[in-house]
């Protein structure tokens, strides 16, 4: 019995007493780190499919109702959207910097970068709330008082040519009413997708901020060392992913057709 190298009478040292962060079912810190990182990549793979479905729906409707989508896209504030993209890119930089600080064992810098990340993340959400508020005032939220014809959120004025409202249509009240009903319906699809996509993205941001509050606390407590900072690293992967989703959402939602007079 004791000849076999696989069976030993000695008690198994399963707890890795010298390395409290190393779980007993892993042989080495590197193995544990790779497993955790791989798990996060798998999760991000499913996230790509999750957002992919909505992106696909968006692309199909955009193809069908291009004029209405272009006109509705122009009602989004380009300057605010660009600024928000910049804010999110800054947050990605601070996340990368905090991981680097952990790799180098610079605890103060690490916490500082994480606090900046939280600040940028919350700023993004604040600016997004402001944008949504403006859409509410313009009656562009697809609910009961949704309206894009006349009033504050009028989308037809100045866009008659693109929307196919020719003088012939204008002079025919029946045709005009039919076209207006279509515009009302098709822009509603754009805004539904806009709120679904930016809303899901914002939920991911809120979850990200929650995760990073915990991570910042852990960093503050000195839980991360150059050898072990896996939670920070994989939380960083998640944050960068959410940034990438926005990198695609920005041109797709804000920049459909910004050509002057087109």
């Amino acid at each position: 019995m004791s000849d076999s190298p696989l069976v030993s009478d000695a008690p198994l040292d399963v707890e890795h007493h010298d390395r409290p962060e190393l779980r007993h079912h892993f042989a080495a810190v590197d193995q544990q780190r790779n497993a955790a990182s791989l798990g996060m990549w798998w999760f991000l793979g499913t996230e790509i499919m999750f957002f992919g479905g909505m992106f696909c729906a968006y692309l199909i409707y955009r193809r069908w109702y291009f004029p209405e989508f272009a006109v509705a896209s122009r009602s989004l504030d380009l300057k605010v959207g660009t600024f928000n993209t910049v804010v999110l890119i800054c947050s990605s930089l601070t996340v990368a910097m905090s991981v680097r600080a952990a790799q180098l064992g610079q605890r103060k810098l690490q916490v500082k970068m994480l606090l900046l990340t939280l600040l940028f993340g919350l700023s993004f959400l604040g600016i997004k709330t402001y944008e949504w508020g403006k859409k509410y005032e313009e009656h562009h939220i697809p609910t009961f008082d949704y309206n894009v014809i006349g009033g504050e959120g009028d989308l037809i004025k100045g866009n008659e040519e693109l929307l196919g409202i020719t003088t012939e249509v204008k002079n025919d009240p029946v045709k005009l009413r039919a076209r207006e009903a279509e515009i009302q319906q098709h822009t509603k699809i754009f805004y539904s997708l806009y709120f679904a996509l930016t809303g899901m993205h914002a939920i991911h941001m809120i979850i990200g901020v929650g995760i990073f509050i915990v991570i910042t606390w852990m960093a503050h407590k000195g839980r991360f060392t150059p050898e072990y900072h896996t939670p920070l690293e994989i939380a960083g992967l998640y944050w960068h992913f959410v940034d990438i989703v926005w990198i695609y959402l920005f041109p797709l939602l804000y920049l459909i057709d910004r050509r002057p007079g087109a």
């Binding site: 810190v29 590197d30 992919g52 193809r63 930089l93 804000y254």
Partner: protein, 112 residues
């Protein structure tokens, strides 16, 4: 302590990537206001894909990882996404809207 040394990206490179991403963001917002015809969408999506690639490769350390599974998962996810988008869009593009919804003229004819 660890068996393999993990690549530490220089702060300079991170700042450079940040700068490139900011420039690309401003560029894409500006170029959207220039009339390039059909190519406006192509340019916007190319810039977005370039930005996403830079984030994945540098910020997410895919360029430096020795773990082949990470790259395999990433490629599989992109491939699957392309199946979803390309096949769906070729399907929908080869139909006309009129097959699914009545055209405006039909609606007005019925109203009249």
């Amino acid at each position: 302590m660890s068996e393999e040394t993990h690549h530490i990206v220089s702060a300079k490179l991170y700042w450079l990537i940040w700068f490139i991403l900011i420039v690309c963001t401003v560029l894409t917002a500006w170029i959207a206001t220039v009339d390039l015809g059909k190519f406006n969408t192509v340019v916007a999506l190319s810039i977005a894909t370039f930005k996403a690639s830079v984030v994945v490769l540098i910020f997410m350390h895919v360029k430096y990882t020795s773990e082949k599974m990470t790259k395999a998962i990433l490629m599989a996810a992109i491939f699957w996404l392309l199946i979803l988008l390309v096949l769906s869009l070729t399907d929908y593009s080869s139909r006309t809207e009129g097959m699914l919804l009545p055209a405006a003229s039909d609606v007005s004819a019925r109203l009249a």
